[in-house]
């Protein structure tokens, strides 16, 4: 190869590439990194430009804002109850996290540390749930949670327009990933610690709550964050289980969509509302990036 002569511009580029492969490699790395970051951030930047541009100037705007109207962020909260939708979202996500962690810790402990027959098939059963699309559960769940079904003559409670109408489907959707993450973390705790506690006379459940749970706190935090983000960003059941008014526990999905459907021309408001809706998640991602990375990989790689 090196004996060959390269001529012309292309030839010289090829020759340079071969002789300085480390430089070219480094250049490729930086070009790649910068493009990924720009592609990632551009839509966020566009939201910001749109939000701060006064609405009478929206139609001749460029990529850089010319005037700043910061007041739009206050308007979105004061005139449209965006904070109400976000509050509903956060509350429903928090309740779902508590339910999932409570139920999931027990199961995660059993899957990670207790030997019992049928463990494999039960884990597969959990995987099967996460395989089915939300629409495969929709109609019977809707029937069950809106009081249209009667069991032994008594109708089920009507949970449409209540937080529970969303918490139940979200729990169902989030339990498998919670258990996968917690199983991974529980199984990594050395047996000796639990044995030591048991020898000292702690009961089985005592060992679980006083020794194992505190030791796997990072796992619990990871699972909690993944479930919280999952619920906060969810669309399908959030869209179906309320009528869209904030008094009826409508969540962020409607806080954003209502601008699109009812106030069709208020593009700067849509952008401002979207940016505010991102804040809780952005804060979480910034403070808990490591947890999210670990949780996603632990949950995703569990076969």
């Amino acid at each position: 190869m090196s004996e060959q002569e390269y001529t012309g511009l292309t030839g010289r580029i090829v020759q340079y590439t071969i002789q300085n492969s480390a430089d070219v490699y480094r250049l490729g790395f930086w070009v790649g990194l910068v493009s990924f970051i720009m592609i990632t951030l551009f839509p966020f930047y566009w939201l910001l430009v749109l939000a701060v541009t006064p609405d009478n100037q929206l139609y001749q705007m460029g990529i850089v804002p010319e005037n700043f109207n910061i007041g739009v962020f206050a308007t979105v909260v004061q005139e449209y109850p965006l904070h109400h939708y976000i509050f509903n979202s956060i509350l429903i996500a928090t309740v779902t996290v508590i339910v999932c962690i409570t139920l999931g810790s027990l199961a995660g402990y059993a899957f990670g540390r207790v030997d019992f027959p049928g463990k494999g098939p039960l884990l597969v059963l959990l995987l099967i749930i996460s395989y089915f699309p939300g629409i495969a559960f929709l109609i019977p769940l809707f029937e069950l949670l809106t009081g249209s079904l009667s069991i032994l003559g008594t109708p089920t409670p009507d949970l449409y327009n209540t937080p529970w109408g969303m918490v139940f489907p979200f729990t169902m959707l989030s339990l498998p990933i919670t258990i996968f993450i917690l199983t991974t973390f529980y199984s990594q705790i050395p047996d000796g610690l639990e044995d030591a506690a048991r020898v000292e006379g702690t009961t089985r459940l005592g060992a679980l709550f006083r020794v194992i749970m505190p030791l796997s706190a990072p796992g619990v935090v990871t699972a909690a964050i993944i479930v919280f983000i999952g619920v906060y960003r969810e669309f399908f059941f959030s869209f179906i289980m309320t009528d869209g008014s904030p008094e009826n526990w409508a969540v962020l999905v409607y806080g954003i969509l209502n601008f699109q459907q009812q106030h069709t021309q208020m593009y700067n408001m849509m952008a401002a509302a979207s940016l505010i809706g991102i804040i809780p998640i952005a804060v979480l991602v910034i403070i808990a990036q490591e947890h999210i990375v670990r949780g996603l990989t632990a949950g995703g790689l569990k076969e």
């Binding site: 990632t40 566009w46 059963l125 495969a136 729990t171 849509m270 952005a282």
Partner: protein, 317 residues
């Protein structure tokens, strides 16, 4: 009071203490499976049952008589297209038929998103100053609410606002108002899906790269292998299982795409399979909706089978 509670509870604790390992395990997993029986397994079975009944648009309950596989036959043969808001499968109008649009979105998005995700994983796996910040930034698209992902691109492709729509239209890439054109909107939905899924697949691939034995690279270095050869001969084969799992999750998630469609172009313009189920559900056609939901699940199952077969073949070589 506290003592009373303790007295009442202690026999239960004692019983738990005396259980053997297997029973203790079952006891701990029972709450989860009890909850999931009601919220997951019962709905799945009932959806299957609904899909075998007839629609009843006049009675008190939207479910009519048992008709067996009639709904499936009608949907797959195209006879049901008359009652659907968009056809299920119609080669004459590919961008308005649900199955074709959904498969198109999935195939293109998974193919491009996986390649870009692999690139991102390789870049973010290198040690460099500010890597932590770079990782934090690139996770954002995946983690923000689905409705906002859709809204962002809705605003990016608004012809009255966006400085890109006109140049793209002049180049002949898009029409003047891409958000009301089915073909353009399908491309936009694919763009959103790739944009938000790259971090997801990249993180999974990164975990795979991190678990590769560093010695392999040292040996390759000594043997004089170039970076590209190292990537092809070491990295790619080693991350294959992880890549495969990541692609399966990516595929499942793209096959049920809905929220970003509703928040950007709308279901009338990009009719995905989930759109079709929601629309039939709203028309009180519960049986038809259930049948489409199960067909969607079956299509996903077939795709996963293909993945598994291909994966087996490639590892047996």
């Amino acid at each position: 009071m506290k003592q009373k509670v303790q007295q009442a509870v202690s026999p239960i604790f004692l019983r738990i203490e005396q259980l053997d390992e297997a029973k203790y395990g079952f006891l701990l997993v029972s709450p989860v499976f009890l909850v999931l029986s009601v919220l997951a397994f019962y709905p799945l079975v009932k959806t299957l049952y609904f899909s075998l009944q007839d629609d009843d648009l006049t009675g008190t309950h939207p479910i009519g008589e048992f008709v067996g596989l009639e709904n499936y036959v009608q949907i797959l043969s195209g006879d049901a297209n008359a009652i659907l808001s968009s056809p299920f499968f119609d080669l004459q109008a590919p961008f308005s038929s649900a199955l074709i649009v959904t498969l198109l979105i999935t195939v293109v998005s998974v193919a491009i998103g996986t390649v870009l995700g692999l690139g991102m994983a390789i870049i973010l796996n290198k040690e460099f100053k500010g890597r932590r910040y770079a990782r934090t930034i690139v996770i954002l698209p995946w983690s923000i609410p689905i409705v906002i992902q859709g809204m962002m691109f809705f605003l990016l492709f608004q012809p009255s606002l966006s400085p890109f729509v006109e140049p793209l239209a002049n180049l002949g890439v898009f029409s003047d108002n891409p958000l009301i054109n089915s073909q353009d909107s399908t491309i936009i939905v694919i763009l959103i899906d790739i944009w938000r899924k790259i971090p997801f697949i990249a993180l999974i691939i990164m975990a795979g790269i991190a678990s590769i034995d560093r010695n392999l690279y040292d040996v390759a270095e000594v043997a004089g292998a170039t970076k590209w050869q190292q990537f092809r001969m070491i990295t790619l084969p080693q991350i294959k299982p992880v890549l495969f799992i990541g692609m399966i999750f990516y595929t499942i998630s793209s096959m049920k795409i809905y929220g970003i469609v509703e928040a950007s172009a709308g279901c009338a313009t990009v009719p995905t399979l989930t759109c079709l189920v929601v629309q039939t559900f709203r028309q009180q056609r519960w049986a038809t909706a259930s049948a489409i939901a199960f067909i969607t699940a079956l299509v996903i199952a077939v795709i996963i089978m293909v993945y598994i077969v291909r994966f087996r073949e490639s590892t047996n070589e």
